[in-house]
Symmetry: D2
């Protein structure tokens, strides 16, 4: 950590700051520049306490040097984490495609979709039973009934299931029905929820919030890891920007950055990020080329009639065609799909 | 609702779309333009169902005409809502100042602060007992002990208390200790929490999420209102932008916009938005001039030693001086403070 | 164009708006909804004049239906535009790689780089002679001397040259030296410059501004086309967002969107967008998979000693390795590189 | 400047970096932390050269300590700069209101407007003769004819004139007609234009670009100052964000920040930032309360019939009423208007 003193900081102020830092049990190392003085603070991660000093007289800026997340960092865990869920390895050589409808709408819909996902070569079934929606007047999901249909689809096809949890009081039910618990973008910093999932030890797919920096996503992962649960799949799903043509702006650089900064697997949700079905096949290929370990794609037997997110759902035919292109691109970069 | 058909939509596609809309029990009204056809959909708010048709062949765009929120809208409730909490009227003529530390750190700290808030002319005491922090390694608050200190401060000074709830399982405890329950920016779309607060009927201060549009904030309010709770105070606290000098970008236009679109009171949190103590007095005055019904300001007896958000906390002296300026600006626009 | 009247608009206001529209020689088509009235305006692109009516009493919103750009639109020109520059076809089957240093620093540097670009399979040499820099204290380029070195490199290698023009007074010099004139992101809405380039008829690479929507980029292209110059290569180079880990946020969805909305070729600059050398190879592959017609990559014989943008420049070895991966991904999606 | 070495940097790499820095004639000061080494670089502003080393093996990050702008900084020029234009002092005690139409449309329109501005207590007349518009199909202004009408309005009313220059070739004409040359948001980083204006020594109003940080604006000012022209008025006019209700997001914190960081006067354009006429009076008051030295407001005798930006123009009556409120708020904070 570096404490930058302002240009007009007095010698007394500089010394007061150094004394305070030393009271915390840390070492100081001042550098007297031509115009400004900066104070290096030495002492591992305990330097965090120095952040509280930003308001001290004469202090202009406090610059952290160490990354604020630890267990999620590749610095502390250089090799890739591979998460195994019901025989599916996420984070390994194979690009894992998770597909399904935005919302479970009926038994038939989810069973048909699961069969198609399996047929087309997908590895995980996605589908929302409890749907957080921006408007309270939109369809909110089938609830536990939806979870049971998902379980039935899993039983028939063998595909593990990923579905979103929004209520910490339902953690046990989800641990029973879901192979992977999804934390949605709106809940990325719902620390109560993250802590429960951390304690459960259950595999989790953690979506990046629409205004969350890459670092914030890794800190959210840290909330889960510090409870002892390392089975975390990070998910890029678009960020809020001024562009209105797409629903969000898909940040594929975040995939490469996350793979560099962290050992955790990274998947991409092209559906929610782009929100325009015709762009999703191209973005799926781009995500794979960018190094994503998997995709989370919305598909629907009849997108025109979907109760949720129809405009961004692929029909079965487009999905199958996209799967075969995904395999080609994966092979081109030395992976499978 | 207007359905815009693409330039190359066939007559069959146009008719299929119209038939489908009519199946929903709505009326259609096509306009055949020179290049494109648009279909007007008539039938009040049931038109929402038409949104699911965005993927229909030939449909280019679906444009809602009615606002997606109802009860929060000034169109349905033209007069200002005034919320009365322990004798304090929020949304009336008087600009209400809510002040206190980011986090309750000790009994002494919160009691001293409460006395100062009262002395300087503030109306509500703020203070966090359960602190959601971006990093799991930052101070997370005193928990229920903090709530008890707040209650003690209220008992002594008579100031009502606003404090943040993050866990839906704690709603009853908060209804007991807090006069106003705060929903933090990270939880603005935690619909599980909003629904519980809606059911409780308790006054709530709802902070705008850092990537939430004005419309999203009103839709979040709608989640609470539709459960029967209209005691909602909206709070602008800055949005995520590319600017890094300030912590967030305070969007004061949102204050004027919210006052126009909604009947609910609007307060401004200059502390979290700006994040730089020296800019907060000016932003407090600007918020009042923009028409805010109140302010939520972080103050601390010794900002240099604060365990949370010290850099953005005002010391008592600056706060008192700012209060007297706030009163002058309030008077200049025909209000009190 | 659709004119939405506010809920409390009077019959007189609605009629006054309709009369005014008809005075412009346009037809009106009112739809009387349950709560609001909307007025359809018919008459091709002359409807633009209606935009000036947004302030009329009772008018709530004016919604354009037609796209504001014409010549850049795929609606008016369905087949892909292919631009041929000195034997290189841009927008065709082959993904075109344009590479070179941020700035021309010396004769040796640019000659060596050109040879390497050629050797590695690149098709166009890039290099800045006049450098617009955020700070006036950064290196501003060699000026005309730089242009002459570029011409020499072209003469030796046969590679056409792309270089940035910032001053409309220098258009003639650039038409002489440059095969493709680059308009930088900061000048995307420098309409004086766009008009001069439009008149010159010279091939141009038009970079998206960091806060420009996809539509704004196409409107900037429209400024050039309307002067009679259709030889426009669009370039995605990242947009300004709250994320600070990367220099800008590369918006690869824009590639797919631009290919859908426009017939013009689209290239991607992964270097300026990401700004972190280690992420650029992955982003180059992702751009190709997303459907980009080409790449604009910064390379430098010795990035550590570059006078400009060293941190985001690839060294020759990394560039060559990336080129061979680009070829594989291009082939996987049915193109060459 | 601080060079942060990565955790796995070798001793050889650290020494190589230090040697290189010393070759530039700078002093190094290493701090060996528990996990990482950081190198302090001493030697005033020559440290800029070190930025080019970001790609060196083992270098993780380079952190500048000194501000990148000098002459625009309050650190080098603590007292406020006051610019006097035809008897109007900008940056002094009085809040200066500049008002007029977006575009000069006719002799009558600008003469009438000028008289009203004078009558209502405004100090400067604004009006565009050369209009840069996002679409080439929008009204582009009257050109030199517009400049002559402005001059006539100035002759009659005595109000100095501010008008936008977009073409560096027209600098002499503008120096003749305009009292203050405006640089529009789209041209904030048109360094060719900034340099010409810098050389002219003419007063300039420099608008912040919609994706420009506060620091970028000050660096653009630096381009003008380094040519010897200190007569710069900074202008906040809104930034690009995800919010769509307003045209841009007015960043009033930037006013307080610019007044802290720089000695230059700061004005606010509430019209372009907000883009919704009904919000502009409140934002004008907020800007004054935030500490702005002036306002740049669009008014029009008949906003409904304006050829440009009608929806965001105030009519004369609203403007006069707003002026009287502005005076009250100015007085409340100890200024005049």
């Amino acid at each position: 950590m570096i404490v930058v003193m302002s240009q007009d900081a007095t010698r007394e102020q500089i010394e007061a700051v150094m004394r305070k830092i030393e009271e915390f049990g840390l070492k100081t190392h001042p550098i007297y520049g031509v115009l400004k003085t900066v104070i290096g603070v030495i002492g591992d991660d305990k330097t965090k306490v120095v952040e509280t000093m930003a308001g001290y007289p004469g202090v202009e800026q406090i610059i952290p040097i160490l990354k604020p997340y630890k267990f999620a960092s590749r610095e502390t865990h250089p090799q890739d984490t591979v998460i195994e869920v019901a025989g599916v390895r996420i984070g390994g050589d194979k690009v894992v495609v998770m597909a399904g409808p935005c919302a479970v709408e009926s038994r038939e819909q989810i069973l048909n979709t699961a069969r198609l996902v399996k047929l087309a070569g997908g590895s995980v079934l996605r589908g929302g039973a409890f749907k957080p929606r921006t408007s309270p007047y939109s369809f909110q999901g089938l609830g536990e009934e939806g979870l049971r249909y998902l379980a039935e689809a899993r039983a028939e096809t063998g595909l593990p299931v990923v579905t979103e949890l929004t209520d910490p009081r339902m953690i046990d039910v989800f641990c029973e029905y879901a192979d992977i618990i999804q934390v949605g973008a709106r809940n990325m910093q719902n620390f109560v929820l993250l802590t429960e999932i951390g304690r459960s030890g259950h595999p989790v797919l953690l979506k990046r919030g629409p205004s969350s920096k890459i670092e914030d996503l890794l800190l959210a992962a840290e909330y889960i890891i510090k409870e002892g649960n390392r089975k975390i799949i990070l998910c890029e799903r678009g960020i809020s920007t001024f562009e209105t043509y797409t629903r969000n702006t898909l940040d594929l650089s975040a995939v490469a950055a996350l793979k560099k900064l962290s050992h955790l697997p990274v998947v991409v949700d092209p559906s929610h990020s782009v929100g325009v079905a015709s762009l999703i096949p191209a973005m799926s290929l781009a995500a794979v080329a960018a190094g994503a370990d998997g995709l989370l794609v919305e598909i629907h037997p009849n997108p025109n009639a979907a109760l949720c997110d129809g405009p961004q759902s692929l029909d079965f035919e487009t999905f199958s065609a996209t799967m075969s292109k995904i395999r080609k691109v994966a092979r081109a970069i030395g992976r499978e799909a």
